[in-house]
Every structure is written in C-alpha cells, then in structure tokens.
Amino acid sequence: MTGATHLRYEILRTVRNRRFFAVTLALPLVLFYAIASANRHARTDGISFPLYFMTGMAAYGAMFAAVSPGGRIAADRARGWTRQMRITPLRARTYFAAKVVTAYLAAIPALILLCLAGASLGVRLTAAQWLEMAGLLLVGLAPFIVMGIILGHLVAADALAPAVGGLVVLFALFGGAYGAFFNTGAMLTVVKLLPSFWLVQAGKAALVVGRWPAEGWIVVAAWTVVLVLAASLAYRRDTGRA
C-alpha cells in the first residue's frame, strides 16, 4: 500500500521534529500553568477559570500543531523534494491526505496534554463531555490544517516559522484563546467570522449549552471550503500545472 508507507514515514518525520513539539506542546502548557494556577479558584464566563483557560490553550496548541505539518511543505520544496515526488507514482491526493492525517495526529498530543493539565488544576468533566470537546475541536481544526498547506506552498522555507507563528497568534488572540478581549459589540460580530473563535468555543461547547450553534458549523465549513480552493490554486501555481 503506497499510502500506508507514505503516511507512516510522514508521521515519523513529524514525531522526530523536536522543535515542533517544543512549540506546540510546551508553549501552551507553560502559559496554562503560569496563568491558570494563579487563578485556579476564579470563575470566568460562567465556568471555573482553569477550565476556561484550558480550553483556550488547548485550542491554541492544537491550532499550532495542525498548521505546522502543512507548513513543512515549504521545507520539502526548498529541498527540491516536491518535484522529486511528482516524478514518482505517488498521487497528489495521497500526499495531501497524509498531511491532513498527520496534522490531526499532531494536534492530539496538545489536546491531551492540556486536558491533563486542566485536570491537575481541578477540572472535572464527564467522559461524554471530554469526547464532545475533543470531537468539536477536531472539526474546528480543519481550516487550520488547510491553512498550513497553503502557507507551505506560498511562503519560503526560511520565512515559514514567523509566518506560521504570527498567523496562529493572531488567530488565537482574536478568536479568544487567551481571553475574551473582543466579546462585545461590533467586534464580536467580526470575530465570530473567524474559525479560531469557533475553535475556542468548541472547547466550551460541552460545558455550556448553546456555544456551538449552526453558525459554528457554517463558519468552519465556509473557511474550510474557501481554503481548500485556495490550497489547490497554490499547489497548481507552485507545481506549474495548469
């Protein structure tokens, strides 16, 4: 099975990239403990602050992890490897499917670690709530995975880290992963159009009824569709295929 071996090595390459884990796992974890442990008995937005901040940081870490594998296409391009793969029987769709699966797998450790960290500060949820949270987070990650693939095709390898970092931080900030700074008035209407807003809400939907309305599905689906179209354009431009 060509796809299976390709996927296995794609995952292996991601796992071996230690810098990647330092950023996607350590950063949100450190932020979580630094901020949540000082406010462990506070309440925000109708839930305990550690739980509130755990969902934000889980969304942030998962977002970072999900964007990165696609972004690594830039490095493969710089090595001339995307051209090399185009003269093998490997199909483009297998290549991208592996990227998407790898991105999801890369996001899972960030989610698990933040949930464990949350539990260590007293967050208690039922199994059904954990599952609902995880499921919605995976849905909310879809646009970010595709965003990574676009960046991988458009941005030069040496500019990729700041591009990914900057984009993720902006999306996280406006989406409310660090705190709901934009949850009032006109600004709320705007940030509700961001996929990161819904990714952050996904973490809370299992806890607070009504946090994931149809609007969430629509915004996430619209971003995903538009980004997939943009990604296929970026791929075609990159490979010179008309």
Binding site: T5, Y9, R13, D76, R83, P89, L90, G240
Partner: protein, 310 residues
C-alpha cells in the same frame, strides 16, 4: 540516428518548444530514443538540457509539441512507475535515515527492487543508518541515485548527476549506471562533462541554444565536426599533390613529416596509400570531442544572439 516505431516503445519528442518570457529555452526539438539506449544530452550551461528533461518528466508543460514515453504522455508514464529520475540540485528528505528514505521511495512503485540490493549497487549500504541530513555531497548523490533506481523504472533520467562529485565517485556512479543499462533500461542523462558523454553514452545528442546541433555516437559527432589529422613520414613529396588527395582539406610538411587535415580520414588514408609508396609512422588523430563540441555549439547560427536558459 536511432529509428523506432513512434507508436511503440522508446521516448519520442516531437517539435518540443518552451519559452520563458523572451528566452526560447527549447526550440522545436525532435528526438527519438529507442528502448535500451543510453543517451547523453550534452551541451553548455543554458543550452536547454534541463528544460528538455523537465518536459520529458512532465514537470514542465511544453508551449508546443509533445512527449511520449513508451507510447504514453509523461504523466501517465510517471503514474505507472516507469520513470526514475535524479533531478538537479535536490537534497534528500529530512528526519529520515538513508534506508528509510529508500524504503519510502520503493513504496511508491508497483514492482520495486529490494532496498538492500539498491543500497549495495549505489554504494549507499555503508551509511544506510545515517540521517539524510548528515551526508557528504558524494553520499547524498548516491542516496539520490538509489531513490531514482529503487522503483526499477524502465527509463532512468539523470540531470547532471555527477555535478560536484569527485573523480572516484563519478567512476563508481557510472559503473552502476552501466549495470542498469545492461539490464535493458533506457538511460537519458544531461551533462556538460564531455568525457562522461564520450565514455558512457551509446549516443550523444548535442544541444546548443535550445536546438539539437548534432546527434549520433561519439565517434560520429567527432567526425561531424570535421577534422581528423593524419601524420606520417613520407620523404620527398610535393605538398600540392598531398593537398589534392581525396578527403584531404589541407596539407603541410615539416622535413620528412607530412600533416594532412582531413574531412574524411578513411578516404584520405586510402588515397595516400594508393598514390604514394613508402608511407611510414602513420598516426591518425581524431578531432577530440572537445573540438567538436566547441565547433558545433558555437558555429551553428552564430548570427543568433538569443541566449538560452537552463
């Protein structure tokens, strides 16, 4: 010139053209390569070799003309796993060991060769456990060669495969290529090393400014560029009568030594023996491939000022 049924095997380029802006990189190239041939695309930098190869591999879309690989377009040949390629200036995928990378490449092809055999053949076995990012230039080249071979492709395309490799490494590399060619594989390689084209190709296709300027076995190309020189000891002969011999372009004499520049050395030798007695110390020097190369790549449409690109 090889002739092959265009509908059947081999590689057929018809009126292939590609421009980048004002630069006409490849201009109406027609070329037929028979299955099992080893062909060198020889030309100076910027002649259009890489552009031609990219079109053969389906990496670049021609402006005009077509490429058929064993009867099908490049994309179909690639999907079928018929092509193995070593592109210019690639470096192996990171976060993998050498054996893993070759195994990964093997997995893409329907009938790959055993990974260990390929590692041994290419000389990569001794550093198979090394990280791909920790290789010397020569080692990386062997690994790239291994990745091109492991799918057991029928057509092997090598774009300047030995650029930056030392002499020993080159010899080992070409020995391995020869072993592949002997198994009936078609090998097309681009090079600007004359010796490599001369020593390892059945046939040389000389490219300059996007056009084929000569095509044939190395000996024929050398002949095509004209002069071979005959030196001989022949006392007391009139220079004018030497110059009048069939196949001779001009004649000189220095003491008892005569030097004949020939357009056709075979005819000239016959004429020399037929006309004079006592010809001794005969020495026929081929025009070198270098002379042929320089003559053919600079003379041809020298009025044309357009520059090619790689």
């Amino acid at each position: 010139m090889a002739s092959v049924d265009a509908s059947g095997g081999g590689i057929v380029l018809s009126r292939l053209s590609k421009s980048y802006g004002q630069v006409r990189a490849v201009r109406s190239v027609d070329l037929v390569i028979a299955p099992g041939e080893t062909v060198a695309l020889l030309g100076p930098n910027g002649a259009g070799k890489t552009t031609t190869i990219d079109m053969v591999l389906g990496l670049t879309r021609p402006d005009e003309g077509t490429v058929l690989i064993f009867g099908v377009p490049p994309a179909a040949a690639v999907r079928a796993g018929w092509i193995g390629g070593m592109l210019q200036a690639g470096s192996p995928l990171d976060h993998l060991r050498v054996r893993e990378l070759v195994t990964l490449m093997a997995s893409y092809y329907p009938n790959p060769l055993p990974v260990d055999d390929v590692l041994r053949l290419t000389g990569a076995a001794e550093f198979a456990a090394q990280w791909t990012t920790k290789l010397s230039g020569g080692q990386a080249q062997r690994v790239r060669f291994a990745t091109a071979l492991v799918g057991d492709p029928d057509l092997l395309v090598l774009d300047e495969p030995t650029a930056g490799i030392d002499v020993g490494g080159r010899r080992d590399f070409w020995q391995a290529v020869r072993a592949i060619a002997e198994r009936g594989k078609t090998v097309v390689f681009a090079t600007h090393y004359l010796e490599e084209a001369d020593a390892y190709a059945d046939r040389i296709v000389l490219i300059a400014r996007g056009r084929i300027v000569a095509d044939g076995p190395a000996t024929e190309i050398k002949g095509q560029a004209g002069s071979r020189t005959i030196r001989a000891t022949l006392p007391g002969v009139d220079v004018a009568s030497l110059g009048a011999l069939a196949g001779v372009v001009s004649a000189e004499r220095h003491g008892d030594t005569v030097i004949l520049s020939c357009s056709d050395a075979d005819t000239a030798l016959d004429a020399l023996f037929g006309t004079f007695r006592g010809v001794r110390d005969i020495e026929v020097r081929g025009g070198s491939l270098e002379e042929a190369f320089l003559q053919l790549t600079t003379d041809e449409d020298s009025a044309d000022t357009e520059e090619g690109v790689r």
